[in-house]
Assembly symmetry: C2
């Protein structure tokens, strides 16, 4: 159940004292020649390491990923870019790889420079600590306000997809969420990884929200080294695509369940929308509404707020199609609104998870979004110290 | 300083026991024949009373406005529409007016039917209590989670614009914010009121956000009865437009300052954007970011979150133009980021208001947005009971 679950991968996590008094540098590398791909945040402000990684992915196949937590190295100008490049060069030298074969990830406070005097020795320690059992240590080293490490492993016929992720806050991915590293021993050709990531990410990492804030550092990486020895077929390719999506879904659900201050995990399903894109826009709007999310925290089936949010989902410069008189809404299977009329039945929302199903009765577009509640602790975590 | 400040207006506020143990029905009427206009929320889910008001405004000039708090009469189907129509008919009969001359407003819980057996007697009491001194009582009767009544009066050369509003939550207006009633004794011709409201509302009610949630009931109404006897000129028309905007600005600032749980009032200014529309999109995104708003609550100048939000402002299906390397950011006048490089100077953000000025260095588009912090009390107010 880790980023080293697939054959031919090693990892480590060590404490470098960047910002926290715990492990804060992680390293993942393939011991056999790998191919890889990645997806990046669409935020117009992008961390220095993402700019570097784009260049590296164009020049070479990635063989190792080095990650630090504590400092995001975003909004740090030319100094930040030089620091990301130095981190890659130092890691490459220690591993006997080319600089372009290293991807660099950072997560933490935006607008602060990396303490290179502590980070570079940390990288050296991480190289020394690499092992096939190091997956958990790596997953723990990339945590910020996470309370648990997020790991996955999905086994197919003769191959495995492993992975780790970090989440907790500034989670509203648009393309990918910061810090998911997926590894597989399934054989992929050069250039295939990103194309395989895209549909898996779209249905998983791109359909979750904790606070509606899209990070500057979001990135999902897939490394594939073929160490399983599987001979590819159409059937095995389909099985791999399914395993990859399952691994992404597993990690993204773990991210939402461990959202900053989260006490309730909600699955928002919108059906009967004019089309699938409008369904997703409406599900996203419901999943990011502070009033819907505070009601989840209060275990209050205050469903009028779901209608309010549905009616104001940005779409084509206006709002997506909703006709309240045709809407049917269920909380945990109990109908609270039927074809626009309140049923005056109180659903049971006392548990730690909540299914909200909105059928708009307009067309056949549907979408699902995962979200967490907005709790007093979310505000405390983000208001009472600099996370 | 109230909705009865202009000549020829009466108001009242009485307790009808709709949902709260306090005044919850308000009435405003012009004693001289008035003309009027209104702006409505663009939310696709609209309260029954808004649907009724559109029809009434097409058929007649409004002479009186009846308001209830406690129940929003939104997502209530045909029953809700019939209840709104009955409220108007009852009010009209008691005032000796035509039903179409009455506008009806409701605010409170969505998805609950109005208790007509209590509302209609309340309307009768409100008619009996009408007086030229009733402005404050009316402003108090329209409050929900508001902690103070919002009133204004702006005096021009021989005329007055008065008004009242309610705010507190579900405040992210798009066209108008629920419950602002403006009155003036300036003479307007039939059909002029809405056209005069639009630019005033756009710069005021449409540039504030408390929680990013756009209500189903937002509506701004202007009644003008000409009782000042002012003879119109180009100069007086300009003075009236300015007074109207000032009254709207005064009420919208009061709404943000009294936002649910608000402890900090922030003015977000974006300059140097590619154009004014992108500036407004970026300012709105910053003003609605939970991470920016929790940092305001914590009096933490965690400016990286402002950059993160600026970089992910929805625009034309993507994000608005931002180049972090050209951005300069100030907190209360102190530069924290200059042309993309952190200055490492800590600004003073200990006070109850905060000015955040972001210059993107791209063009000459600018915009300002008012917002409040996201506090522990906001979550408590919206999570711990049904507001």
């Amino acid at each position: 159940m880790s980023v080293t679950a697939a054959k031919g991968f090693e990892a480590s996590g060590v404490a470098a004292g960047i910002r926290y008094a715990r492990a804060d540098v992680a390293l993942v590398r393939s011991t056999a020649p790998a191919v890889g791909g990645a997806m990046f945040t669409r935020n117009r402000v992008q961390a220095a390491c993402l700019q570097l990684n784009r260049a590296h992915l164009e020049a070479a196949e990635p063989q190792a990923v080095v990650v630090n937590s504590g400092v995001a190295n975003a909004a740090t100008g030319t100094t930040g870019f030089a620091n990301a490049a130095d981190t890659a060069a130092h890691t490459a030298q220690l591993l006997g790889l080319a600089t372009e074969e290293i991807l660099v990830l950072s997560t933490g406070v935006i607008g602060m420079q990396l303490p290179m005097d502590r980070l570079l020795p940390g990288v050296a320690s991480a190289v020394g600590a690499l092992s096939a059992d190091g997956g958990r240590a790596a997953a723990e080293a990339i945590m910020t306000t996470d309370t648990v490490a997020k790991q996955t492993a999905v086994t197919g016929d003769g191959f495995t997809v492993g992975g780790m992720a970090k989440g907790a806050g500034m989670i509203h991915p648009d393309l990918a969420t910061m810090l998911a590293v997926l590894t597989t021993d399934y054989p992929l050709a050069s250039g295939e990884a990103t194309g395989l990531l895209r549909p898996a990410v779209d249905e998983t990492f791109n359909a979750i929200s904790i606070d509606g804030d899209c990070s500057t550092n979001d990135m999902v990486i897939l490394l594939a080294n073929g160490a399983s020895g599987v001979v590819r077929s159409e059937a095995s390719d389909a099985a791999f695509a399914a395993a990859l999506q399952q691994a992404c879904a597993d990690l993204s659900r773990q991210i939402v369940a461990d959202g900053e201050g989260a006490t309730v995990l909600a699955e928002i399903t919108v059906a009967g929308a004019a089309d699938a894109a409008q369904a997703k826009a409406i599900a996203r709007r419901i999943a990011t509404s502070p009033l819907v999310k505070t009601a989840l925290f209060g275990h209050d089936a205050n469903w009028g707020r779901v209608l309010m949010a549905a009616g104001s989902a940005p779409w084509n410069g206006g709002y997506a199609d909703v006709d309240a008189d045709r809407a049917t809404l269920r909380y945990n299977g109990t109908v609270v609104l039927e074809n626009g009329l309140p049923t005056e039945v109180e659903p049971d929302v006392s548990g730690p998870s909540c299914a909200i199903d909105l059928d708009l009765g307009l067309g056949d577009g549907s979408a699902t979004y995962l979200t967490s509640d907005l709790s007093v602790d979310y505000v405390r975590i983000n208001g009472e110290y600099r996370s």
